[in-house]
C-alpha cells in the first residue's frame, strides 16, 4: 500500500501501526477512537497478531505491559476517562523500562466530558499522568498523514528509550478523511532485544522487570540522563512565517490546521502573524523559540478552557512577552475568531510601544 | 554450647538415606520438628548467622522419609542416597 489512498485518521493510525510491526493491540470502546478498536478487530487477525477487546482500559494497559516485556510492539488506544485509567500502567511501564505506545484521541472535559473535539489532556499528557518521577514523549499529529507517520516513529522512539510513548490526536484528526501514503510494512522480531522475557537459561541471571532503582545504584544519574537526552534529541516542531512575526500562534492538532489559514489570511490583511506548531508536546520544542525573537506576544490556540499550554510557552520564551490563550470549547477554533483576538493583541502591543 | 554456626552442613549418615542439614538457611519455624513422624528433629541450641535457633537431626531415629524436606519453606534439608 504505497500509493496515496483516502483513509480516516483513526484507521490510518491503525494500519500504519501494523506496518510498523505492531502485533499486539488491546482496546476498549470509547468515542472518538473506537474505529481503531474496530479496525484492529479484523485487520490484526489478517497479519497474525493478537487483538483483545479488554474488559477495561485498566486491563488493556496491563496486557500491553506483558506483551512489551515479552518483546512485542504493543499498542493500546483510548480517550478521556479511559485514558485516565491507563495512568497507573503507564507509570509502571516507565518504571520498568518497557517500550509501548499509547494513543489518546482527545475529547473535551474532565469527568465524562463530551465526545466532541477537545485538547483537554495537555497537562495529563506532558506532566506524566500517573504517579512518580516520569514523563513520556508525546507526539501530536495534525493530519491523517502524520497519524500514520508518527505512530511508526512512536514505536521506534519507545524502543530507543525503553520508555512508553504517547501519541495524542483529537476527535477531528481521528475522524477526518484525507489522502495518506502508508509506510512500507516491516517485520518486528520479538527476540530482537536480549532484555525481553524469553526464559532464564541455566547459569544465567533472570530478567527482572521492576523498578530499576532496586538494582541500579546509579539510578539517579541514569534517570536524569534519560530525560536530558529526550529533551536534547527529540524536539519536533514546525514554523510558519515566524521570521518577522509580531504575534505567534502556538497550536497543535486540528487547532494548528485552522491556524495555517489564520496566518495566511492575517498576512493578506497585513498582520505580522506566524505559527509555531509543536509536533512533540513533550519535550516541548524550546529550540523553536530561538526563531521567534521578533514576537511581541504569543497566543496559544487550544480546545480547552484553562489554556493548558500557556505555562510551557511562558517557560519557553522566559516570560519575555505576554502569552495569552484563545480557547475554543466544544468546537474546532474558527479562523475569524482567532484573527479577531489576534488583531486586539497586535493593537495593544502597538499602543504600548 | 556453640554460640554461632556459620553455614555448616552436618551430614547424618544412616541407613540408605542421609539427611543433609544446611543450618545457615534455617529461620526457626520448626515445621520440621512437628512434621517428623519419629521425633528425630529437635532444637539444636545453636544460633545461625541470621539469628535463628536451628534444628538438629538425631541420626539414630531418622528413617529418611523426607517429611522435613517437604514442610521446610527455606530448603534446609536435602535427602541423598548414601554410597554403598
Amino acid at each position: 500500500m504505497s500509493n496515496d489512498i483516502l483513509m480516516k485518521g483513526n484507521e490510518a493510525l491503525a494500519e500504519a501501526a501494523l506496518a510498523a510491526g505492531c502485533r499486539f493491540y488491546s482496546g476498549y470502546p470509547i468515542t472518538p477512537q473506537t474505529e481503531i478498536l474496530e479496525y484492529m478487530s479484523w485487520r490484526m487477525d489478517e497479519v497474525g497478531g493478537t487483538f483483545i477487546q479488554a474488559e477495561s482500559e485498566l486491563s488493556g494497559i496491563n496486557m500491553v505491559m506483558g506483551a512489551a516485556a515479552a518483546g512485542a510492539r504493543a499498542l493500546t488506544t483510548s480517550s478521556g476517562p479511559g485514558f485516565s485509567l491507563k495512568q497507573e500502567g503507564i507509570s509502571y511501564l516507565a518504571a520498568s523500562e518497557l517500550p509501548a505506545v499509547i494513543v489518546d484521541v482527545m475529547r473535551i472535559g474532565s469527568g465524562l466530558g463530551d465526545i466532541a473535539v477537545g485538547q483537554g489532556d495537555f497537562w495529563q499528557l506532558t506532566r506524566g499522568g500517573g504517579h512518580g518521577d516520569y514523563r513520556t514523549l508525546v507526539l501530536a499529529p495534525a493530519s491523517v498523514q502524520e497519524n500514520a507517520d508518527l505512530i511508526c516513529e512512536a514505536f521506534d522512539l519507545a524502543e530507543k528509550y525503553r520508555h512508553p510513548v504517547l501519541v495524542a490526536s483529537d476527535a477531528a484528526i481521528g475522524q477526518m478523511i484525507e489522502p495518506v501514503r502508508l509506510p512500507e510494512p516491516r517485520k518486528h522480531d520479538v527476540d530482537r532485544y536480549d532484555w525481553t522475557m524469553k526464559g532464564c537459561q541455566k547459569g544465567d541471571e533472570p530478567r527482572k522487570f521492576q523498578n530499576r532503582y532496586y538494582t541500579d545504584p546509579g539510578y539517579e544519574g541514569f534517570l536524569r540522563n534519560k530525560y536530558a537526552q529526550m529533551e536534547a534529541e527529540e524536539q519536533r516542531f514546525e514554523l510558519v512565517e515566524v521570521e518577522d512575526a509580531e504575534l505567534i500562534l502556538v497550536a497543535y492538532g486540528i487547532s494548528s490546521r485552522v491556524c495555517y489559514e489564520a496566518v495566511e489570511i492575517g498576512r493578506e490583511r497585513g498582520m505580522k502573524i506566524g505559527l509555531l506548531r509543536p509536533i512533540t508536546l513533550y519535550p516541548f520544542p524550546l529550540k523553536a523559540f530561538e526563531k521567534t525573537k521578533t514576537a511581541k506576544a504569543f497566543l496559544t490556540v487550544e480546545m480547552n478552557i484553562l489554556g493548558q499550554m500557556v505555562d510551557d510557552v511562558r517557560l519557553a520564551c522566559r516570560d519575555s512577552v505576554p502569552v495569552q490563550h484563545f480557547g475554543s470549547i466544544f468546537s474546532i477554533p474558527d479562523t475569524d475568531d482567532i484573527l479577531t483576538e489576534a488583531e486586539k493583541i497586535l493593537e495593544r502591543q502597538a499602543k504600548q510601544s | 554450647m556453640c554460640a554461632f554456626s556459620i553455614s555448616e552442613r552436618m551430614v547424618i549418615a544412616m541407613r540408605k538415606t542421609a539427611v543433609l542439614v544446611d543450618t545457615a538457611r534455617c529461620k526457626g519455624c520448626y515445621y520440621c520438628i512437628s512434621a517428623c513422624p519419629v521425633d528425630a528433629i529437635s532444637l539444636s541450641g545453636c544460633t545461625n548467622a541470621q539469628g535463628y535457633e536451628t534444628v538438629i537431626v538425631d541420626a539414630g531415629k531418622c528413617v529418611g522419609c523426607g517429611s522435613c524436606y517437604r514442610v521446610c519453606p527455606d530448603y534446609v534439608f536435602e535427602l541423598v542416597e548414601t554410597a554403598r
Binding site: A69, A72, K202 | A24, Y75
Partner: protein
C-alpha cells in the same frame, strides 16, 4: 530417593518471614518446572507485597506488575510467547479484591494462563488488614473487633464465583502439612500440564500460613488452617475441563 530443592530456588535464601507459605509454594512451582523440563521457559508475573519478594528468590524471567494486574500482564506475555508456560503468582488481595475484575474476565474468556493464588486470609505486607478471604470474626488491623460479615461480606470462594462458566482448571490446595503440601504439588502439576495443552484458565489457590500477621507461632498457624480456614475454603478440584477444538 533424592530430595533436593531445585537450583532455581535453592541458590539463595529468601526474604520471606519464618514459616511463610511462600517459601513452600515457590519450591513446589520450581519442582514442577524441573520435572516438566520447563525451568528455562517459565515466564512469571508477580504482584506487589510479600509475593513480590519471589523475584529475587527464583531464577525465572519475571515481571513485577501493579497491584491486582498480574493476570492481564500474563495474558499479554502468553499471546506474545505462546509456547512458554506463563504464570501469574498473586495473593488473595490481588486476585479477589483489587484484581477481581481481571480475574473474572480471565475466567470468562478462559485465557490460557496459570494463576497461583496464595491465600493467607489477610493483606500481609501492609501489616495484616482485612481481606476478602478473612474469616468471620477474625481480628485484623482494619477489623479490630472482628470481621463482621454484615459489613464486609462472607469470605470469597472462587469456586462459587466461577460456577456459572467453565474454565480449564480450578482447584484449592493447602500448605499446612506434608499430605496437603504433596497434594498441592499435584494440583500445580495438573495446572501446568493443562496450561501447556491449551486448556484455558488454570487457577490453583493455596491456603498458606502467615504467622507474622496472624500473630501465631508457625506451627499454630498451620493448625489454624487445618481446623478453621478449611471450613470456609474446602480443598479439592472444582473444575477440570478441556478446551473444545483447540
Amino acid at each position: 530417593m533424592i530430595l533436593r530443592a531445585p537450583e532455581t530456588v535453592s541458590f539463595t535464601t529468601s526474604g520471606f518471614c519464618p514459616g511463610c507459605g511462600h517459601g513452600l509454594a515457590v519450591r513446589l512451582i520450581a519442582e514442577v518446572m524441573e520435572e516438566m523440563a520447563l525451568s528455562e521457559k517459565l515466564l512469571a508475573v508477580l504482584d506487589v507485597a510479600c509475593g513480590s519478594l519471589a523475584i529475587d528468590a527464583w531464577k525465572f524471567d519475571t515481571v513485577m506488575a501493579a497491584h491486582g494486574r498480574p493476570l492481564p500482564v500474563a495474558v499479554g506475555i502468553k499471546k506474545t510467547r505462546p509456547d512458554h508456560p506463563v504464570m501469574a503468582y498473586i495473593g488473595d488481595g490481588a486476585a479477589y479484591s483489587i484484581g477481581m475484575a481481571e480475574m473474572m474476565h480471565c475466567g470468562i474468556r478462559n485465557d490460557n494462563i496459570v494463576a497461583v493464588v496464595i491465600n493467607n486470609n489477610v493483606y500481609g505486607m501492609t501489616g495484616g488488614q482485612c481481606a476478602p478471604t478473612t474469616l468471620p470474626g477474625q481480628k485484623t488491623t482494619s477489623t479490630p473487633y472482628g470481621k463482621d460479615p454484615d459489613i464486609s461480606g462472607m469470605p470469597f470462594q472462587v469456586e462459587a464465583a466461577f460456577s456459572g462458566f467453565k474454565v480449564g482448571y480450578l482447584a484449592r490446595g493447602g500448605l499446612f502439612d506434608v499430605p496437603t503440601i504433596n497434594r498441592s504439588k499435584m494440583l500445580l502439576r495438573t495446572a501446568f500440564e493443562k496450561h501447556m495443552a491449551g486448556d484455558g484458565f488454570c487457577l490453583v489457590e493455596l491456603l498458606s500460613p502467615c504467622p507474622t500477621n496472624l500473630h501465631l507461632l508457625p506451627v499454630a498457624t498451620m493448625e489454624r488452617i487445618r481446623t478453621e480456614v478449611t471450613v470456609y475454603f474446602p480443598l479439592g478440584e472444582f473444575q477440570n475441563n478441556t478446551r473444545e477444538g483447540k
